[in-house]
C-alpha cells in the first residue's frame, strides 16, 4: 500500500488568525484506504486543519490536494462534491427534516436519475439499519438523542455520492459506549466494503488505537510526530504536551 500517491495531502499549510498562528507549515499525506488519526491537546489546531482542508477557512499559505488536485479557493460545497466530506463536532443535522430526509439530503449534490435515487434510497435504508435508526426513519431528527444525532450526522456523510475521503471531527465526543461501538463498526464496515479513506480527529485513545494504524500528533499548530499510537505515545514531547513537563521524564 505504501508508495501509492496520497489521496489527501496538505503541503506547508499555515493559517494566521490575526497574530495567532493556528497552523504552522503542516505537511500531511494520507494514503488511499487509510484510516488516519489526528490527535493533539486542545488548541493544537486540529479543527483549524480540518476547516482549511474543507474550505471553511482559506489558508494563509500552503496547499491542500485531493487526489492531486488543489482545493485552495474552492467553496465548501464544491469540496464536498469532489469527494472530501466532513462531519462537525457540533452536530449539523437538519432538525425539522425526518431522519430519512437527513440521509437523502446529500443526494442533492449528485446525479438525479431514477437509478441513482433508488440506489440512494437503498443505501439510506442500509445505513439506517447499521445505525439502528430504522424505527425512527420518519421522526423529525430533532427528536433524536445526542448520540443518535452524532450517528445520523456521520451516516449522512456516507450518503454523499462522490465520497472518497471522510474527515470526522471529534465523532466520539460525548457519545455513550453503545453508540461509540456502532460508529466504530460503521467506519470499519465502510472502510472494508468501499475502501474509503478516513481522517479522524479524536481524543479517544482506545478508539484511535483500534481504528488507526498511523497517527499524526499536532501540538501548537505543528506536526510533531507521526506513527502508530504506541510510537507517538512513547515520545517525550508528546507526553509533555498532554500531561505537562513533569511527566515527560
Amino acid at each position: 500500500m505504501s508508495g501509492a500517491p496520497p489521496i489527501l495531502e496538505a503541503r506547508k499549510l499555515s493559517k494566521h488568525f490575526g497574530g495567532f498562528l493556528a497552523n504552522d507549515c503542516i505537511d500531511l499525506a494520507v494514503e488511499p484506504g487509510e484510516i488516519r488519526g489526528i490527535i493533539g491537546p486542545n488548541g493544537a489546531g486540529k479543527s483549524t486543519l480540518v476547516n482549511l482542508m474543507t474550505g471553511v477557512h482559506q489558508p494563509s499559505s500552503g496547499d491542500v490536494l485531493l487526489a492531486g488536485e488543489s482545493l485552495v479557493g474552492r467553496k465548501p460545497h464544491e469540496i464536498a462534491r469532489k469527494g472530501l466530506v466532513r462531519s462537525f463536532q457540533v452536530s449539523r443535522i437538519f432538525g425539522n427534516l425526518s431522519v430519512l430526509d437527513n440521509l437523502v439530503a446529500p443526494l442533492l449534490a449528485g446525479v438525479r436519475t431514477r437509478e441513482a435515487r433508488q440506489e440512494g434510497a437503498a443505501k439510506a435504508r442500509r445505513l439506517l439499519e447499521l445505525t439502528g435508526l430504522t424505527r425512527l426513519a420518519d421522526a423529525p431528527a430533532k427528536t433524536l438523542s445526542g448520540g443518535q444525532r452524532v450517528l445520523l450526522q456521520a451516516a449522512a456523510g456516507f450518503m454523499m455520492p462522490s465520497l472518497t475521503c471522510y474527515l470526522l471531527d471529534e465523532p466520539f465526543a460525548g457519545v455513550n459506549p453503545v453508540i461509540k461501538d456502532q460508529l466504530i463498526a460503521l467506519i470499519e464496515e465502510e472502510s472494508r466494503a468501499r475502501g474509503l479513506t478516513f481522517v479522524i480527529v479524536s481524543h479517544e485513545m482506545a478508539v484511535m488505537r483500534r481504528l488507526c494504524r498511523k497517527i499524526t500528533v499536532l501540538i501548537d499548530g505543528r506536526v510533531v510526530a507521526e506513527g502508530s499510537l504506541d510510537e507517538v505515545a512513547a515520545r517525550a514531547d508528546v507526553v509533555a504536551a498532554y500531561l505537562g513537563k513533569s511527566y515527560a521524564g
Binding site: T54, V56, K75, P76, H77, E78, A80, R81, V85, R86, S87, F88, R92, I93, F94, G95, N96, L97, D101, V104, A105, P106, L108, A109, G110, R112, A156, G157, M160, S162
Partner: protein, 297 residues
C-alpha cells in the same frame, strides 16, 4: 347589534383578506429562513409588483387578462430580486461582514428609500388603478368585490404551488435543509449562495404577486406597500419567524381580527386590531404561535 349574519360576513371577509396578507408574510419568513435576514424593503417589492401590474394591464394586455399580468408581474419582481441579491445581500456572507443583521437592516432600508423615491420621481405621487372588469360575487351572505375574490383565489393557488415546491421537490428539500443548517447543507454539497439568490427572488416575488393582485383593490402609488408590509411583519411575529404554517394561520387570524373589530367595535381602528392580537401573542407566547426559540447555528 350583534347578528349572526354580520358575524359570518365579517368572518369571511377576514379570511379573504387574511390569505392575501399571508402571501406577503410568507415572502418575509421564507427569505428569513434561508438567507437569515429580514428584508425591510419587502413593501417596495410589493410596490414594484403593483406598478408592473398597472403598466401591463393598462398599456398591454387589458383588464381581461389580469391573471396573465399578475404572473408576469410576479416573475418580473422575482427577476429583480434575483439580480439584486448578489449585489446587496451576498456580501453579507462573502465580504467578511461580522454584524450581518445590522448590515442587512441598513442595506434593505437603503433599498427601500431608493425604490420608493424612484417610484415617486418616475410616476409622481398619484394614485392609479389598473381597473377591473370582474363582477362582484356572493360569498354566502357576503357580497365581495370581484377583484378581491380573484386575488384571494390566486393567492390560494400561489400558496399551494409554493407548498408543493417546498415539500415535494428536490429544490424544496435543498431549501428546507439550508433553512435548518446552512453549514450542514454546504457539507451535503449544496451551493447555499445560489440558493440565497433563488430564495430572495421567490420571497420578493411573493410580495410582488400580492402587489399585483391587490393593485385594483388598494390602488397603485409609491408607498402602497407600507400597509401590507406592516401586516406582513405583524403576521410574522404572531405566527413565529421562519414558520410557513405560522404565516398562513396568523395571516388568516389577523384578517379575521381586523374584520371582526371593524364590524363590531369601530371601523376607524381597523389597522389597530391586528396590533392588539400581536400584543396578546407576545404576552402569552413570545416566540409566536409556531416559532422556535432561536438557536444560533
Amino acid at each position: 347589534m350583534f347578528s349572526f349574519e354580520l358575524f359570518t360576513q365579517a368572518l369571511i371577509a377576514g379570511v379573504v383578506i387574511g390569505v392575501i396578507y399571508a402571501l406577503m408574510a410568507l415572502g418575509i419568513t421564507f427569505i428569513y429562513s434561508i438567507v437569515k435576514m429580514i428584508n425591510w424593503s419587502m413593501g417596495e417589492f410589493y410596490m414594484l409588483g403593483s406598478y408592473a401590474q398597472y403598466l401591463i394591464v393598462v398599456y398591454w394586455l387589458g383588464p381581461d387578462l389580469w391573471y396573465v399580468a399578475a404572473i408576469l408581474s410576479a416573475a418580473a419582481v422575482f427577476l429583480a430580486g434575483w439580480l439584486i441579491e448578489p449585489l446587496l445581500i451576498k456580501p453579507m456572507f462573502t465580504g467578511g461582514i461580522e454584524r450581518r443583521d445590522d448590515y442587512a437592516t441598513v442595506v434593505t432600508i437603503a433599498l427601500l428609500l431608493l425604490l420608493r423615491n424612484l417610484a415617486t420621481a418616475l410616476s409622481g405621487p398619484y394614485q392609479r388603478t389598473p381597473g377591473t372588469k370582474l363582477p362582484g360575487v356572493m360569498l354566502g351572505p357576503l357580497p365581495e368585490s370581484g377583484a378581491r375574490f380573484a386575488a384571494f383565489l390566486a393567492a390560494l393557488a400561489a400558496i399551494a404551488l409554493f407548498t408543493f415546491l417546498l415539500k415535494r421537490t428536490w429544490l424544496g428539500l435543498a431549501l428546507r435543509a439550508a433553512s435548518q443548517s446552512r453549514v450542514g447543507a454546504q457539507t451535503s454539497g449544496v451551493d447555499v449562495l445560489s440558493l440565497d439568490k433563488l430564495a430572495f427572488g421567490i420571497g420578493v416575488g411573493l410580495a410582488g404577486l400580492a402587489g399585483a393582485l391587490l393593485a385594483p383593490v388598494f390602488m397603485v402609488y409609491p408607498t402602497d406597500g407600507v400597509v401590507t408590509t406592516t401586516k406582513g411583519f405583524e403576521i410574522i411575529v404572531i405566527g413565529g419567524l421562519g414558520s410557513v404554517p405560522g404565516a398562513l394561520i396568523a395571516g388568516v387570524a389577523l384578517g379575521i381580527a381586523e374584520s371582526l373589530g371593524a364590524t363590531f367595535i369601530a371601523s376607524a381602528y381597523q389597522n389597530a386590531y391586528g396590533f392588539v392580537l400581536l400584543l396578546l401573542v407576545l404576552a402569552l407566547r413570545p416566540s409566536g404561535l409556531f416559532g422556535e426559540r432561536l438557536r444560533q447555528a
